[in-house]
């Protein structure tokens, strides 16, 4: 075997390998010899088939097999002999081969860059720490209490008012036709809870105990039941009793109903729960900072092949988004070239960080333990309730997907490792500040980017100064790339570990978790303004309470 290096350009290497015909012939011979005992041909006793016949019949197949093996082995050998660490599968191309001739082929590969992890101790980060203020806990308690309303009969009779709970019998009909589900007896209806359609509840305000009333409501056009949608319905309602609803007292009793031992216990559980939310939020923040820092500190060369692959994955997703019609509006107005260069930069950054993290992991012998993997697997399975078994089977059958699970885990561990070394300053903030921080981390870039794109479009429409236009283009590209990384970056290192084949999957998975963390909070602040800031705390009512919650709501 002769190996000659034909080119070495950056990370790219090319070798020419020559295998002599005699070597190959020898291997074929050996293989035929081996085959001899296995072959059964009519007219011959097993093992007595003459070699010439064997060669004629199986020669071609054996040759192919031997060649493939020879190429694999020799390329592997060439790589190990030179201590190369290929970044991805080497490309092998057979340049010339004829029977009885020397085999000549070329190996093209990209080696892993030499990565010198920067001194992590010099990285300084800021971790935001949230002390959960007591009032937040009180609020959460208040909400829990409201979900557990006590009802008691009125002390003295009075007309029903909003907030009361009525015990009613009702029977409804549409066009004189009664439909299933439109009647009930002894139904507890809280006025003002909007549990019923339209102004059903409002029409009951002012009724007295024992009153009978006729309530007319129109079902909205967008009602779930097609038969009822847009129809007018008449309900015969009898008010049997009016109950006074008051929130449950905040005491040990309430705590017990939520599965805690006493009020203090409930409080500490709430605190823990809220703390967990903020902790993961602040961790995401720190990780972003860290990744940014790392990206700034390292600029080693990155194998083009990996970048191509990552870019391909991003680009495909973009195309899919485009077809589905939910393209980022900011992207929609850009032409293909700009987009491509933007996403290419992102791909490169991801690959670089991925390589770096996996390298750090390798150097420090960080590995994912079997138990941790198991845990992740269980978590994954829990995401598909009722189909856990299938999930487990899937992972048992596909080691590749287990590798997908392992990626993010490893990344987390490496990040932990770096964080241990890095200088992490802690700053106490209030929950609101944390959330603001979280949002603001990409908002400044957003605005900056908006500016950049705006000025870019100005300049391009005006066509005054081409040079400044391109400069701004570059600026926008850059800010864009960082921004994109913010939103998707959480999983980026996982995306390009050595098992690069699985990149796209991994990144999507990581992305979904990241975006979940992000949207969860913003929604909490935005949509449910009435129930104050955090749906997070709403979710805090643990599992035992959740069933109660639903029951109390439906009552």
């Amino acid at each position: 075997m002769q190996v000659t290096e034909t080119s070495a350009d950056g990370l790219k290497r090319e070798y020419k390998v020559v295998l002599s015909a005699a070597d190959i012939e020898e291997k074929v011979q050996a293989r035929l010899e081996q085959l001899k005992d296995e072959v059964k041909l009519p007219g011959f006793r097993p093992g007595k088939v003459p070699e010439s016949l064997l060669r004629k019949r199986y020669g071609q197949a054996v040759m192919g097999e031997v060649l493939e093996k020879a190429v694999n082995d020799s390329s592997q050998q060439a790589i190990t002999e030179r201590n190369l660490r290929p970044a991805m599968q080497p490309q092998i191309e057979i340049t010339s081969y004829d029977e009885g001739q020397d085999l000549e082929y070329s190996i093209k590969l990209e080696v892993m860059p030499e990565i010198e992890p920067a001194d992590f101790t010099k990285i300084s980060l800021e971790r935001l720490k949230v002390d959960i203020p007591d009032n937040e806990i009180d609020e959460a308690l208040q909400r829990l209490a409201e979900q557990q309303k006590k009802t008691e009969p009125l002390s003295e009779e009075r007309p029903a008012q909003s907030g009361d709970v009525l015990v009613i019998d009702f029977k409804g009909s549409v066009n004189g036709e009664s439909l299933p589900g439109m009647e009930a007896e002894d139904h507890h209806l809280e006025l003002g809870s909007n549990a019923f359609v339209g102004d059903f509840e409002d029409q009951l305000i002012g009724k007295n105990k024992g009153d009978e009333a006729e309530v007319k409501v129109t079902f909205p056009e967008a009602y779930g039941n097609e038969k009822l949608a847009g129809q007018e319905a008449v309900f015969q309602v009898k008010v049997k009793d009016i109950l006074n609803a008051t929130p449950a007292d905040i005491d040990d009793e309430l705590a017990k109903s939520y599965g805690a031992e006493d009020l203090e216990d409930l409080k500490s559980k709430l605190r823990e729960h809220l703390g967990g939310e903020y902790q993961s939020l602040s961790r995401t923040l720190v990780k972003r900072q860290l990744l940014d820092e790392l990206a700034d500190r390292h600029d080693f060369e990155v194998p083009d092949g990996l970048v191509d692959m990552e870019f391909e994955a991003i680009w495909n997703r973009l195309q899919q988004d485009k077809e589905a019609g939910n393209l980022d509006p900011e992207d929609a107005e850009k032409d293909e070239e700009t987009l491509k260069s933007e996403y290419r930069a992102i791909a490169e950054r991801r690959v670089r960080l991925g390589l770096l993290l996996s390298e750090v992991g390798r150097l420090n012998e960080i590995d994912v333990a079997q138990e941790e993997l198991q845990q992740a697997l269980i978590q994954e399975a829990q995401r598909y309730p009722g189909r856990e078994q299938e999930v487990f089977e899937h992972y048992q059958k596909n080691p590749q997907s287990v590798a997908n699970l392992r990626g993010p885990l490893l990344e987390e561990k490496v990040v932990d490792h770096i964080l241990d070394q890095a200088e992490v300053a802690e700053r106490s903030v209030t929950p609101d500040e944390l959330r603001e921080e979280f949002d603001s981390q990409d908002s400044p870039e957003k605005t900056e980017k908006a500016k950049a794109t705006k000025s870019k479009s100005d300049s391009s429409s005006g066509k005054k100064s081409a040079s400044s236009g391109t400069a701004k283009k570059a600026a926008s590209t850059k800010s864009k790339s960082t921004k994109k990384d913010e939103s998707e970056g959480e999983g980026e290192a996982a995306t390009t570990t050595k098992k690069s084949a699985s990149t796209s999957k991994k990144s999507t998975a990581a992305k979904s978790t990241a975006s979940k963390a992000g949207t969860g909070t913003s929604k909490a602040a935005g949509s449910k303004a009435s129930s104050s800031k955090s749906t997070a705390s709403k979710a805090s009512s643990s599992k035992s309470s959740s069933s109660k919650k639903t029951s109390s709501e439906s009552a």
């Binding site: 007219g43 011959f44 006793r45 007595k48 003459p50 016949l53 004629k56 019949r57």
Partner: protein, 110 residues
């Protein structure tokens, strides 16, 4: 097998069709390959083929010189198939010895 067809007695005037009829297939067995080392090729031939016919057929089809032709009739075995006695067909084998320096690669076919 086309019986009753006018057959040329002079072996040199065998029709092309007849030649392919005469030579059925090569016999590829351990014994036959062993004989191959002595410049002999074995064929299964039609039952009514004669030695001169076989000689011309082999000489023209494979473009070789034949030294001698030995033939034998192999009687079909009596076999039982689902309890009923059956008879395998008879066949004729021809061992053709070639002149020095000639050879036929039987495994590649015509």
């Amino acid at each position: 097998m086309s019986k009753g067809r006018a057959r040329t007695t002079a072996a040199g005037k065998l029709s092309g069709e007849r030649m392919h009829e005469v030579i059925r297939k090569p016999v590829i067995t351990e014994k036959a390959t062993l004989a191959g080392e002595h410049n002999q090729v074995t064929f299964q031939v039609s039952l009514d083929a004669t030695k001169p016919e076989i000689r011309t057929a082999v000489e023209t089809l494979f473009k070789v010189k034949v030294k001698a032709v030995n033939t034998l009739r192999q009687q079909g075995k009596t076999k039982r198939f689902r309890g009923r006695p059956g008879q395998r067909s008879d066949y004729k084998k021809a061992m053709v010895t070639l002149e020095e320096g000639h050879s036929i690669d039987v495994t590649t076919g015509i």
